[in-house]
């Protein structure tokens, strides 16, 4: 893989981001990336404390009113992975998916702050089902979310959905893999975009937080393994791995195509760049990360990996996704400044670093303001859990 890296990637990997005279666009972006405030809240369960904790955190960020009053808000939740595959007996909302109590709480507070319409969006794995149906199949009560505020609706963004056409969102500066993306209308028809993610690790990209959550906004009728060749397919089929992770095929020709066909076909190269691009093309106004309960090891249950259901007991929110994810990484016991080769980015580039290079935000902890509970009080080391599982397995063996 290292042989395939360009000089630019090598320099980035060495952390020489700010000294890239040969790549002025990247250098400029890094210098001008905004700093931001990130709030951390302690929340040990999905009980009644969720809403007041979130309310306090949003107040610490300056209040939701100024962000959402009179606005249409899209909330991208996380329901990725094969839904029938739990981690042990723990339901998906306590391991890999955003918990419905947190979703309902956020929707409630958005409504209370004056949002005029709230659209909860997600592209569940390889499915055209409505989000209500997916929730029913998980024994959730979608009515609890729909009734948490006025004018709440769901949309499965794996396909055209209720839109007449796909919305093209271009990557400022031209992009790293793709110059732009064709997305479900919900991602363009909103004034405020919220990424409501889970505090978890990812098998290919190390972590999957508020930035990586946006990856699932891409319609699989265009970017899925069963996408149409020339035009988007009518129905969504398959995952995004064939197009995004490994470039085994290209998106439907109707969508913006890959900039350079010789780019590496390595998921650790491609996914972080696509994530950074998406967060640049579709800016996240509010990043919220559910770390009340989660899982270690990967974004879903792969079986056989050292994974465990965990209870970090934390909620994280910020108005900048790079800064929020940096704080989240610190909460997980990782240094947000690390690059490829160091955990959690053992075999992938840092999507935070790439986001920073695109001018989205800063990952350096000292450049952002952390409010609420100090990070030191809520650190929950994901790698320590993994080490414990591996040690137990070794002992058993």
């Amino acid at each position: 893989m290292k042989d395939e890296l360009t000089r630019r990637e090598m320099l980035l990997g060495a952390g020489a981001l700010l000294t890239l005279p040969a790549f002025p666009a990247w250098g400029r972006a890094a210098v001008t990336a905004p700093t931001a405030r990130v709030s951390v809240g302690r929340c040990m369960s999905y009980g009644p404390e969720v809403v007041p904790t979130l309310a306090t955190m949003f107040d610490q960020l300056g209040g939701l009113d100024r962000l959402v009053r009179g606005k249409t808000v899209a909330v991208k939740i996380n329901m990725i992975g094969v839904r029938s595959q739990r981690l042990g007996t723990a339901p998906m909302e306590e391991t890999f998916w955003t918990n419905p109590v947190v979703i309902g709480g956020v929707v409630h507070l958005l409504g209370k702050a004056g949002a005029c319409r709230i659209r909860v969006v997600e592209g569940p794995w390889s499915s055209a089902e409505t989000l209500e149906e997916v929730m029913y199949s998980m024994n959730w009560k979608p009515q609890d979310i729909l009734s948490a505020a006025d004018n709440v609706e769901f949309e499965n963004t794996n396909y055209l959905g209720r839109g007449k056409t796909y919305s093209r969102l271009m990557v400022p500066g031209g992009g790293l893999i793709y110059p732009g993306y064709d997305l479900n209308h919900s991602y363009a028809d909103c004034d405020v975009f919220v990424s409501l993610a889970k505090l978890k690790e990812h098998a290919a990209t190390g972590v999957t937080l508020s930035m990586k959550n946006v990856y699932g906004s891409t319609p699989i009728t265009i970017y899925g393994e069963g996408a149409g060749v020339d035009e988007p397919s009518i129905r969504p089929h398959g995952g995004r791995g064939g197009v995004f992770h490994f470039a085994r095929r290209m998106p439907s020709k109707s969508a913006p195509q890959q900039i350079d066909m010789s780019l590496p076909k390595d998921a650790g190269y491609r996914i972080p760049r696509i994530v950074a691009e998406l967060c640049s093309a579709r800016p996240v106004h509010l990043a919220i990360i559910d770390g009340v309960k989660s899982a270690t090891g990967a974004e879903t249950n792969y079986g056989g990996r050292p994974q465990a259901a965990i209870n970090p007991g934390v909620l994280i929110a910020g108005t900048n996704c790079v800064a929020t994810d940096a704080v989240a990484m610190a909460v997980m016991g990782y240094d947000p400044m690390v690059v490829r080769g160091t955990a959690p980015f053992a075999s992938s580039d840092s999507m935070l670093q790439l986001g920073e290079s695109l001018g989205i935000g800063m990952r350096e902890m000292s450049r952002n303001e952390v409010v609420g509970v100090p990070v030191s009080q809520v650190v929950f080391s994901y790698s320590a859990v993994r080490d414990k599982i591996l040690a137990a397995a070794a002992k058993k063996a």
Partner: protein
């Protein structure tokens, strides 16, 4: 010994006709021929002692010169077997002289013969129809039918393991064919034939156990067929082969002990109605093959019986055949929809009733409002079967799921209840023959008084703990299962 629907059949390849049939096939060796000769020895019947096998299927006539020698050579085996209470079924195949073969079968004291096509009226001996499922004469007089084109169950090794559009891996199962058989020929004994796959390595005992369990869980019987290596090793009384045979027999005995479940009826909110014949076979069989993979419980109703069938407890009916139903059946189906059900029909449904209703544009069905219910007319004449059943599930909704299965990607399940409804059983088959990393877990909407897991893999039944869910219903966490288990529910 008379043949009955309770008979447990086994293929018993032995004798000169068997050798003649196989000697030109690839990989046939002198050693294999010797085993076929050895299995003529009545002493080999000893392996059946203490097992449920009580019926042997032997090659009887194939239109080859060896036919007469075969019938003669089998005589001692048949005599000894009959003394031991074993019945014999002669297989008449190919260009056999059927009148002569039938006469020889009667003279030899066979309990029945099995042959393709229509049975001769003057056979003078029970004739078991032995046909591919799509060609089966479901209404034949015989109390037993033998489906000749079963498949070795498991996860196919020669296709992409990533799985199909169902998100879950493909599985090879005889379940669809056997569900259809039960609907088309209620009350009859159904046998299904399939041979072990040719492979370089020996088949493991659990592969055979799944081969027994897959048909048996659907109330049918596999005509047990052992691979050459296992038969040779059994003849030589090698311990690993004896152990494998013991496990095969143990699985058969398990189903015999739990045969009450085979009288239960499959339950589900959806009924599939078809005549499952001619051009409609493939579509119907594939729909029924796919429904378990999308975890949609269902019942199968033969079109010929639908007008008299009960639709109680159904939320939806999928009338699958392009041919319109009889006036009486159509009236009944429309009444079902008007009363609140959802009726799915093919594109050729003439003059769809009711005004159009709002529906997701990607759906394969145009939905009409019909009384308290809906009529969903397929938009395409030859729709993709997977998309059809997926959309049927979307329109039915998961809202009222009675059962949901988690952590079991390589498993199929179906739910049956007793006639009075007091007892139920969830049959669970693992086609990977390996337990998943986490044990299977069922969500059950209506908790029962008792839930216990029975399995030949367990020393004794295990009572399961109900874990009530905040949103309603309960969950049952099961121990890991390699091949087969059944959750017995009682109220």
């Amino acid at each position: 010994m008379a043949l009955s629907t309770e008979s447990n059949p086994m293929r018993w390849p032995a004798g000169p006709l068997e050798i003649a049939l196989r000697e030109k096939t690839k990989g046939f060796t002198a050693e294999k021929a010797e085993v076929l000769r050895n299995w003529l020895d009545p002493a080999t019947l000893g392996i059946l002692q203490g097992t449920p096998v009580n019926c042997l299927a032997v090659s009887w006539a194939s239109g080859l010169a060896a036919d007469a020698d075969q019938q003669k050579a089998l005589k001692p085996l048949i005599e000894r077997g009959r003394q031991a209470g074993i019945s014999f079924v002669g297989l008449i195949e190919g260009e056999a002289n059927k009148p002569a073969a039938l006469a020889a079968a009667r003279a030899a004291g066979l309990s029945a013969v099995a042959m393709e096509g229509k049975a001769p009226a003057d056979a003078g001996i029970p004739v078991i129809p032995r046909d591919a499922a799509a060609q089966m004469s479901w209404g034949a007089a015989s109390r037993v039918l033998s489906i000749s084109d079963g498949i070795w169950p498991g996860i196919p090794q020669d296709v992409n393991q990533a799985g199909g559009p169902t998100n879950l891996p493909w599985v090879d199962s005889n379940g669809a064919v056997l569900r259809i058989a039960r609907a088309m020929a209620p009350g009859k004994g159904v046998w299904i034939e399939f041979d072990p796959p040719q492979q370089a390595t020996a088949l493991t005992a659990d592969a055979y156990m799944l081969a027994v369990a897959d048909p048996a869980s659907y109330g049918a019987r596999w005509v047990v067929s052992l691979d050459d290596g296992l038969r040779a090793d059994l003849t030589a009384k090698k311990q690993p082969a004896l152990d494998t045979w013991k496990k095969i027999a143990g699985m058969m005995a398990f189903f015999q002990e739990h045969k009450e479940a085979s009288t239960y009826e499959a339950m589900g909110p959806l009924a599939v109605i078809s005549n499952f014949a001619g051009d409609d076979w493939q579509r119907g069989e594939e729909a029924i093959n796919l429904l378990p993979r999308i975890r949609q419980p269902f019942r199968v109703i033969a079109r010929s019986r639908a007008a008299g069938a009960s639709f109680d407890g159904l939320q939806a009916i999928y009338y699958l055949d392009p041919e319109a139903p009889s006036a009486a059946l159509r009236e009944k189906l429309i009444a079902f929809a008007k009363d609140g059900g959802i009726l799915f029909v093919p594109s050729k449904w003439p003059n769809p009733e009711g005004p159009p209703a709002k529906a997701e544009p990607y759906l394969l069905f145009n939905v009409h409002t019909l009384g308290k219910g809906r009529l969903a007319v397929c938009k395409e004449e030859q729709p993709d079967v997977y998309d059809s059943v997926a959309d049927i599930q979307n329109i039915i909704s998961h809202r009222n799921d009675q059962l949901r299965l988690y952590n079991a990607p390589s498993m199929n399940f179906f739910y049956q209840t007793s006639a009075q409804g007091g007892k139920g059983v969830i049959q669970l088959l693992n086609y990977s023959r390996r337990p998943a990393s986490d044990g299977p877990l069922f969500y059950v909407k209506q908790p029962h008084r008792l839930a216990r897991l029975v399995s030949p893999e367990l020393a004794s039944p295990t009572e399961l703990h109900w874990d009530p869910q905040e949103a309603g219903g309960s969950e049952l966490s099961l121990p890991k299962i390699s091949v087969y288990g059944a959750v017995e529910l009682e109220n």
